[in-house]
């Protein structure tokens, strides 16, 4: 059970990071010259990639375009709508 909770916490952190990256991308659409915003964007992107890798190494592929160990693990549960946040 403990592992499930830590999986969900890590997933929530990934989701928050994804949202942050998306918001900064929208800002950069209209402010491509804003250096600080771009630095923050790139910082979040690298942290996001780091967390995604950590998640996938431990819990399996997150997305369709994630690598999977054998046998194909993407179809394992929990499915996104089954996750209790």
């Amino acid at each position: 059970m403990h592992d499930y909770r830590s999986m969900v916490e890590l997933l929530k952190e990934i989701q928050a990071l994804e949202f942050g990256v998306y918001e900064l991308a929208l800002f950069l659409d209209t402010h491509p010259g804003d250096r600080r915003a771009l630095e923050d964007h790139n910082r979040l992107v690298s942290r996001l990639n780091q967390l995604r890798k950590a998640f996938e190494d431990r819990y399996g592929p997150l997305r369709l375009d994630s690598e999977s160990p054998y046998p194909y693990r993407y179809i394992n549960d929990p499915w996104p709508w089954e996750i209790q946040y």
Binding site: K12, E13, Q15, A16, L17, F19, G20, E23, L24, F27, T30, H31, D34, R36, A37, D40, L44
Partner: protein, 58 residues
């Protein structure tokens, strides 16, 4: 054609079309990401949740 004639085109009810002035946003503080996800924005200046004002019924 005069400016007045131009302005009367394209709408009814004698009201002018809107002219929008949007000040450019500058990059400042951002919310902590976990809160930002709940607020729906990372920018405090854009966070304006709709809060109905309870008018007492006349």
């Amino acid at each position: 054609m005069t400016r007045a004639e131009n302005m009367s085109k394209g709408y009814q009810g004698g009201m002018r079309l809107a002219e929008v002035y949007i000040p450019i946003q500058t990059y400042g503080e951002t919310f902590d990401l976990k809160n930002a996800l709940m607020y729906g924005t990372i920018f405090p200046e854009l966070y304006r949740p709709y809060r109905p004002v309870h008018r007492n019924p006349q």
